[in-house]
């Protein structure tokens, strides 16, 4: 059975159709890329899956259980966690305390949650900054923190929204390695990414959306050669060039 199944998802903002009849599946242990030009509706898809927006149409099933209509915290409890494109650290508390909030979802004792949080921080390479306030972190480290918080909730499915944006190539490579290791532990990953190197390295399959519609899917290599995809990114004018 699929881990996550999305059927005919639709979301409108007034007259604007942000997500238009999108269907896809995520298999256990799979890493799926979701790409498309700015404003294509990728973040909106994540918001619909994670309960922050309620889709007007369609179904979302996590291991057969329907998610539409559930509160975001319930969806996280069921095993689907997300990161935010614009990272949202808890600024006035320490890095460790940030991750502990996620860890406390599964570990009801503070001591065990602390242990889990430390483990996750070590995993993403933030162990040495555990006691620093989150305010002090530069953006690349904030992105790792965002990842660590979501990871501490022990998700079955992890939605990553442009976690590599704004990072330099070395940082991107480090993050790619982390995400591989998360995936190796059996977590299904849905990845929104503009950094093509990240998508190419990680995703076994890629969905391309434009104006909320699925316009292509396949392996990363297939997709980047697809004429419609090139047009979506570069505009039609280039066809004649």
């Amino acid at each position: 059975m699929e881990l996550l199944r999305v059927k005919d998802l639709g979301k409108h903002f007034g007259g604007l159709t942000a997500v238009d009849g999108l269907s896809f599946q995520l298999r256990p242990g799979e890493m799926l890329g979701l790409i498309g030009p700015n404003g294509a509706g990728k973040t909106t898809v994540f918001a619909c899956l994670s309960g922050f927006l309620r889709p007007e149409q369609g179904e979302v099933l996590l291991e057969g259980q329907t998610l539409v209509g559930l509160a975001p915290n319930r969806i996280c409890e069921l095993g689907l966690a997300r990161t935010f494109q614009i990272v949202r650290p808890f600024l006035n508390i320490s890095v460790l305390d940030n991750v502990m909030v996620g860890a406390l979802l599964r570990e009801k004792s503070v001591a065990r949650a602390r242990a889990l949080a430390c483990e996750v921080l070590g995993f993403v390479g933030l162990g040495h900054l555990a006691q620093s306030p989150a305010t002090g972190l530069p953006l690349p480290l904030r992105k790792r923190l965002e990842l660590a918080k979501a990871l501490a909730t022990r998700p079955k499915v992890l939605l990553l929204d442009e976690v590599m944006a704004g990072l330099n190539p070395t940082e991107v490579d480090e993050l790619i390695a982390f995400i591989r290791r998360i995936n190796a532990q059996g977590v299904g990953i849905l990845l929104i990414e503009h950094v093509m190197r990240g998508v190419m390295a990680l995703a076994s399959r890629v969905l391309v959306i434009n104006y909320g519609q699925l316009i292509a899917q396949g392996t990363p290599q297939e997709v980047v050669g697809n004429q419609e995809v090139i047009e979506a990114y570069l505009g039609r004018g280039l066809k004649h060039a």
Binding site: N73, C76, A81, F90, I93, D97, V101, K108, A113
Partner: protein, 321 residues
Amino acid sequence: MRRLYLLLGLLLAVLLLLPLVLDKYLLGIFVMIFYYAYLGQSWNVLTGYTGHISLGHALYVGIGAYVSTFLAQKFGLTPWLGMLAGGALAAVVALGLGYLGFRFGLRGVYFVILTISCAEIARLVVSHIDAVGSFSGIFLDFHPGFANFQFRGNVHYYYISLGFMVLGSLAVHLLARSRTGRLMVAIREDEQAALALGVDSFKYSMIAIAISAFMTSLAGTFYANYVFYLSPNSMFGMALSIDLILRPIIGGLGTVLGPIIGSFVLTPLSEVSRTYFAQSGLEGLHLVLYGVLAILVVLFMRQGILVYLARALRPWLKLEE
């Protein structure tokens, strides 16, 4: 850290011995210091830790004061138990208010307006209930005795209010380190991000407001039996709602020591200037004084006095440990 606990223990020992040397007037000032520190601590649970700004906490002070006094006068129930009844009612009322606010997504100024409105409604309702003295309020008869929560002089009140402050602070300290407290702080920091990590923000906001209201109302019972007079305006009024939030703001929001430090700075100033200005026919001028002080702190010590104090004492206290 051990030095910090040592210092606090030492200060507590000094406070325990003070009644040996202070006169009634000075003890009275300390009673008010402890009382406002405790109130600030109680309010801090909802606003400092969980981030929901209440400007109507007089509501719970009033409920505590009126319920225990009414039960004592009508049924002879000792205020020590009446206090718990008041606390229970305050928690229930707070849960009602919280339900409206948290279920329907009232945040920021909208939540503030809800808290003000509820306190004002309560003040007007109580002003029209004859059984509790309507506009003119209730005078308590003086029957000194432990069971009546009434005492001659200020020594008993001193120790009781000190107990409130110390136990209240200890309770908040433990809460802040617990799972519940950590989730409350996450809600304060960023409610959406907390939701994304599985935090049930509705549930923990409700817990926070119930604890905060319960604690606050206990202070109402204390105050009623300390001043022997309650009126709708003094117990439910906006002035008290504002007064009780100034100390944690000045001392340090969302910290256990903040309300205490804030109260040690502000309360003596307020008490002394109140008496002094009243003598010279300038009643109410003490409020201006505090306003100015609050503005200065907000301008120059944005996070409250505690942060600066901690920084200054850091080397000696070895806070890093």
